[in-house]
């Protein structure tokens, strides 16, 4: 093993840090967006541009530049989508858990809206991630689905959060909905650590988390790149969904108890003039 300064892929070694620089840039843009309202005209477009731009170059890195895997060949390349997607789903649902706890301590429409946004985005990312994993499992395990702790806990998580979103649709009173979905978000949050640690706790067929020292540097670069791309996308999606949820909350709360009577129509019996 030669010293890393002497290896031919010095560029790769340096490229390891490029995604981290991008991540810092994404987070800085988002913080600027939140804290400096006048900058919102361009920060938002820049964030969206970074997310889209990173996804435009990601296929080249993932499909061509990174080397094939020792045992799986090219099939493994789906992990560049599958892993970041499910990690982002778990992050989003962890934020949902945090928002649920925070709401029960202090009522606020913002935490409730953020909980709704994170649950939806987490469910979307998780469902797509599981589908991709299933596509990978067919050539690798020779089955689309198998009864394994990791797979069961992932499926359970999806069903629980589908139920969570159903509950939100079925309760009209915004305050009751917020409290009940916070309670449910806490109960549902139990599954997130179970999902993450299932490969370590039980003998699972699913791979355990690898670390950068055991895989090719180019794989690390591409995986990190994909992480940051998905992080940018997740921020964009959650934030947009949060704004939409806030607008819905404002409309619900502002709704008067009864609509005012229309002008020019005959009044119903017993309906006096409004003050």
């Amino acid at each position: 093993m030669r010293h890393w300064l002497l290896t031919y892929d010095l560029g790769t070694r340096l490229a390891l840090y490029a995604p981290l620089v991008m991540l810092v840039f994404v987070l800085w843009l988002f913080l600027t967006h939140l804290t400096d309202p006048p900058s919102r005209k361009w920060t938002w477009k820049a964030l969206l541009g970074i997310a889209v731009g990173m996804f435009l170059v990601q296929p080249y890195f993932a499909l061509s530049w990174s080397p094939p895997e020792k045992y799986m060949g090219d099939v493994y390349r789906i992990l560049y989508m599958h892993v970041p997607q499910l990690i982002m789903a778990m992050l989003a649902l962890t934020i949902n858990f945090g928002c649920s706890v925070a709401y029960l301590f202090k009522k606020s429409w913002a935490t409730d809206s953020l909980a709704e946004a994170t649950a939806e985005v987490g469910l979307y990312l998780g469902a797509v991630g599981i589908t991709l994993g299933s596509l990978w499992a067919k050539p690798t395990w020779n089955t689309w689905w198998t009864w394994d702790p990791r797979l069961i806990s992932a499926a359970v998580m999806m069903v629980i959060y589908a139920g969570y979103l159903t509950l939100r649709r079925f309760v009209e009173d915004p305050e009751k909905r917020a409290t009940w979905s916070a309670v449910m978000g806490i109960i549902a949050g139990v599954d997130i650590p179970v999902l993450y640690f299932s490969v370590k706790w039980w003998r699972s067929i699913h791979q355990v988390q690898s670390n950068p020292s055991t895989v090719d540097d180019r794989m690390v670069v591409v995986l990190r790149w994909s992480y940051v791309a998905f992080a940018a996308l997740t921020i964009v999606l959650i934030y947009q969904r949060f704004l939409a949820a806030q607008a819905t909350r404002n409309r619900e709360v502002a709704l008067p108890e009864a609509l005012p009577p229309d002008e020019g129509l005959p009044k119903a019996a017993g309906q006096g003039a409004l003050p």
Binding site: V156, G163, T166, F170, E172, T179, W180, I187, V194, F197
Partner: protein
Amino acid sequence: MARIAWIVLVLLAAGTSLLERAGILAFSGLGTVQAVLVALAVLAMLADAAANFSEVRRFGRTIRMVIQKDLQIEWRTRARLNGLVFFALATLLMFSFALGPDTAILRRNAGGYLWLGILFASVLSLGESFRIETENQCLDGLRLAPVDARAIFLGKALGNTFMLWILAIVITPVTIALYDVSVKEGVLKLFGVLLLGCFGISAPGTIYGAIASNARARDVLLPLLLFPVLIPSLLASVKATGLILEGDPMGQLGSWLGLLGAFNLLYWGLGFALFPRVIEDD
């Protein structure tokens, strides 16, 4: 002060045993540390109970009265339990019709069918348990009473557990007859596992029953919310019941009971802490 102490001690003991089971935490003397933690927790609990004796007695009386109320309502008509038993029996029959007359398959999966029968009946039971509260605004009456809402949770959940356990005990002989199984590990063990499994169903079931009873389309909502969170404890109950029916030569029963107990503790703790927020009205 004593209360904070025992809560922290119990959490520490539970957390260390969980980490030990997960293989993360391991050092010699861990068992001694845990025993000391549990002993200190019991001491602190006793101190807490002695310091707040009237409060504790009031809490216990509330639990007892809620259970008594539910059982009395049930005893006057006996409609719920009758309905549940026949529903569960019909479900068990359906399984044997749906799967054909292959006795080997039926015998091997008898534990699973028994638990599915209990699970389907539990949705009816839990829904009914909160339907009687929405009638004549009974829940508002309970809420207005100057008692701890957590005691109401424990009362309702223990009442539901009892009802489900009775149901399970009644349909067990039928399961044994229908699927031609023998209880290899003893009936008492089987009833113990059934009780633990019913505990596991009724803690989340009581919270979600309270939520669903006030929402639109409650009959759709309750199973949709409840079934996914029950999967871990149901899995453990089915495996443990299967081992008791089929015999347990490898000694696997303990690990499944551990999983069941862990999820019971988790969901009862969460229900205890969160239920007051579920029934609050603002």
